[in-house]
Amino acid sequence: MFCKVMSGALQGIECYLVTVEVDISTGLPCMELVGFLSSEVREAKERVRVAMHNCNAPVPTGRVTVNLSPANVRKAGSSFDLPIAAGILGAVKKVEEIWLRQALFAGELGLDGSVRGVKGILPMVLEAKKRGFQACIIPKENVQEGKLVRGIYVFGVSHLEEVIKLISQKAIPVPEDENEKKMPKTEKEPDFLEVMGQETAKRAALVAAAGFHHFLMLGPPGVGKTMIAKRIPGILPGLSEEDCLEVSKIYSISGMLKEGKLMTVPPYVAPHHSVTLQALVGGGRVPVPGALSLAHKGVLFLDEMTEFKRNALDSMRQPLEEKKIEIIRNAGAFSYPADFMLVGAMNLCPCGYFPDLGKCRCSLYERKRYMSRVSGPLLDRMDICITVETPEMSALIGKTRKNGRIGSKEMGERVKTARKIQKERYEGTGILCNSHLKGEMIKEHCRLDEPTERMLDEIFRKRKLGPRAYYRTLKLARTVADLEKSSRIEKEHVIEALSYSAGMDIFSKGALENI
């Protein structure tokens, strides 16, 4: 008595199909699971046996062999309980043929037969649709997530008995459409209107968001660096359909998709500075995505950057270039996307008050040691580096100047327009925004006129900055021009870009001495 049903397993953010083969033959009553299994999959044996017993569909007496194929890939997770149960039922002919061929099963079983939620439903359903399946049977907990995929029947089940009833039907019914629960309005998003004064930092944040540039804020404690960072995701444009699915997949396999809602807005991830390298880039024997991937297409905010572990920070250098993370483990090579906007905040010395020498108590040596906690190459990848100043009292009590009153809504609109311009310009080149420009493309899209170029050269010589900073300034100037809806980069755009790279030399030798 042989039977096979289909299920899926995760590899990175992608899913591959797993065939669950069940055979019941004569012999001593026992159940054997094979197919390169981790212990939680092996334990499925007990869960399935008891759950089936409690649903009046006991496992037949005999030698039950279950094989999860392909047998050479290690399988982990608890989503194989349901397909194994379905396979056993199929082997005793309690399942209609069509379900065995046209449905994909995933879910964890409780001993009473209840079906519990699992991770990674979204990529599984996507794969099922791609492979032409007609239906997916998944836990009710995950049904919202599964229903995000159109063009496939998704059945959410909460008990094994429901499954038994469902798969004894001769044809696949149309699943009843659950009334989408109206979500209560989420709490008010933080708005830039609440940031009083701080015109320079706000303007810099606007430029950073418009070009998806990495953004670093320097300044003493308590001036609003964190406040500004928290408001940046709010002005980023919403995710495109493609990005939305990709980001949602990452959250799905991490089990972090909230109430089965797609990630339509850019994520905001702010790991605490005690974060380990593995938690940042992703890790584990079968790697799960880390904070960098969770911030894909969104904002990764590192507050108190100097307090992070050196190796954790340095691990970000390659993903910052490649926009993805390759992790190689015993179980295979995993690739997670990591195209995020890095927002950093830090002080300039251990006490935090440098360069206010009246307040700062740190020696040059202490300052140097403090700064050396962040590696130069990482900081060299920051596009904008701005100093944040203690706000004036008058600004705090609401007497802001006109420039200081701009809010997230208006900023968001401007970012959206600038992004649209960029998208049109780079159509077909595979890049979406100015910060992704490379090599030849910079030369093509960031042309300057003669006098502007001379001015830029002169300032660069004065500031003793290198070629990477030069290209960064060009890209920034391009974004500023896009914000102003100008097709050419004018002198004023370059000047603004230069103002944002004014802090770039903090890691060069002598920068911390008597400024």
Binding site: P355, S363, C385, E392, I495, G503, D505
Partner: protein
């Protein structure tokens, strides 16, 4: 007394452990010259120092005798000379006269390079290690102007004010560094550059035997040499509690003139200077005036060369450019702060747009009025 023959013996005398400046002077009171002391028998010494004068114990005399036996007089002296280190006991003609006046004057000095020329004036420029851009500017300005006027600069080679003044002085004249370690040891290591150029364009001086490690206790003592070598001491920046003030105390004790560079009352780095001012120190209003005053009070054989400071090209600046420039200081300010200060409170007739402010800042930077470091703007020093 032919000082050249005495030198190797003087070197031995200075190297006896446990015998300091006072001890050496007591020994020489009887022996008159180091070579004679070296040749005295133990009995003679006991008779002279223990029985008659009662200035040493018998044990101390034994120690001196023993050190004499272990010491290779000529060999050790030659070895030191080969290292390029000069030795100046107080009977040496080059030993600075001004140093002899001070209480507890060192009996001998070691030096690499020159000693300050006695016919020239010497001024000590001292101050904080962690200095502001203003302090750095004043230190450099002082060093340069003093050197241009043929005045030698002496200081402690510490990071900050000390080494900046010395460096600036060496570009136009000579500077001297007094160490709290042996002359062959560069401390602090960060001043290696200054140390090397002092060897060529001035000298390194110490009262400690070559090879002596820098000990915290040595530094207050070396400060008395800094002030002792000079006619005037200028304090550029010092916090309320600063090691610099020890040098000032020494200088006052030695009857040297003390000048302070005034600062704003809100600057912690000028608190020490302002406090000294209140206590009656001379105020350095401008570098030129200070040098004139020096010449007046120390009218000597110092060549007068009051080449006025080169005026910056008077460029025509627009209203806002002027306003922005007025708000930039030697103290670092962020763009936001400059912007706030230029615009003042709301309600003023004219406001400067952020974009325009950025343009002006880049323009001023290009013209060389201001510089930007770590994202903070300061005037160029």
């Amino acid at each position: 007394m032919d000082y050249k023959e005495e030198m190797p013996y003087a070197y031995w005398l200075h190297n006896i452990k446990g015998v300091g400046n006072k001890g050496i002077r007591k020994l020489l009171k009887e022996a008159l010259k180091p070579s004679r002391l070296f040749q005295m028998t133990k009995e003679q010494m006991l008779e002279a120092y223990v029985i008659r004068e009662k200035v040493f114990t018998e044990k101390a005399v034994c120690h001196i005798v023993q050190s004499r036996e272990e010491w290779d007089v000529m060999g050790r002296y030659e070895k030191m000379k080969r290292k390029g280190i000069d030795f100046y006991p107080d009977f040496h003609p080059s030993y600075p006269e001004s140093l002899k006046e001070i209480p507890d004057a060192p009996w001998a000095l070691y030096g690499i390079g020159k000693l300050p020329e006695q016919e020239k004036m010497t001024v000590a420029v001292i101050g904080a290690r962690e200095c502001s851009a203003y302090g750095a500017y004043m230190a450099k300005e002082l060093g340069r102007s003093l050197a241009e006027n043929g005045i030698q600069v002496v200081s402690g080679m510490a990071r900050g004010i000390d080494s900046l003044a010395q460096q600036a002085a060496m570009e136009k004249g000579s500077a001297f560094g007094v160490l709290g370690s042996g002359v062959d040891i560069c401390y602090p290591l960060s001043s290696k550059g200054v140390y090397e150029s002092l060897k060529r364009n001035g000298g390194i001086i110490s009262e400690y035997i070559p090879g002596t490690e820098p000990k915290p206790g040595n530094f207050p003592a070396r400060n008395r040499i800094i002030s002792g070598l000079s006619q005037a001491v200028v304090v550029v920046e010092a916090k309320e509690k600063s090691g610099t003030l020890i040098t000032v105390d020494m200088a006052l004790e030695q009857g040297r003139e003390v000048y302070v560079v005034p600062g704003r009352t809100t600057d912690a780095l000028s608190a020490g200077c302002n406090r000294l001012m209140k206590q009656g120190a001379d105020v350095l209003c401008s570098v030129e005036e200070f040098i004139r005053e020096l010449h007046d009070s120390h009218a000597g054989c110092i060549k007068g060369n009051s080449a006025g400071k080169k005026e910056k090209d008077e460029e025509v600046l627009e209203f806002w450019e002027r306003k922005v420039l007025e708000n930039i200081d030697f103290y670092p300010k962020s763009m936001q702060r400059i912007y706030n200060e230029v615009n003042g409170e709301e309600g003023e007739d004219r406001t400067l747009e952020l974009k325009k402010a950025m343009e002006i800042l880049v323009k001023l930077e290009k013209k060389g009025f201001i510089q930007v470091k770590s994202g903070y703007y300061t005037l160029i020093s």
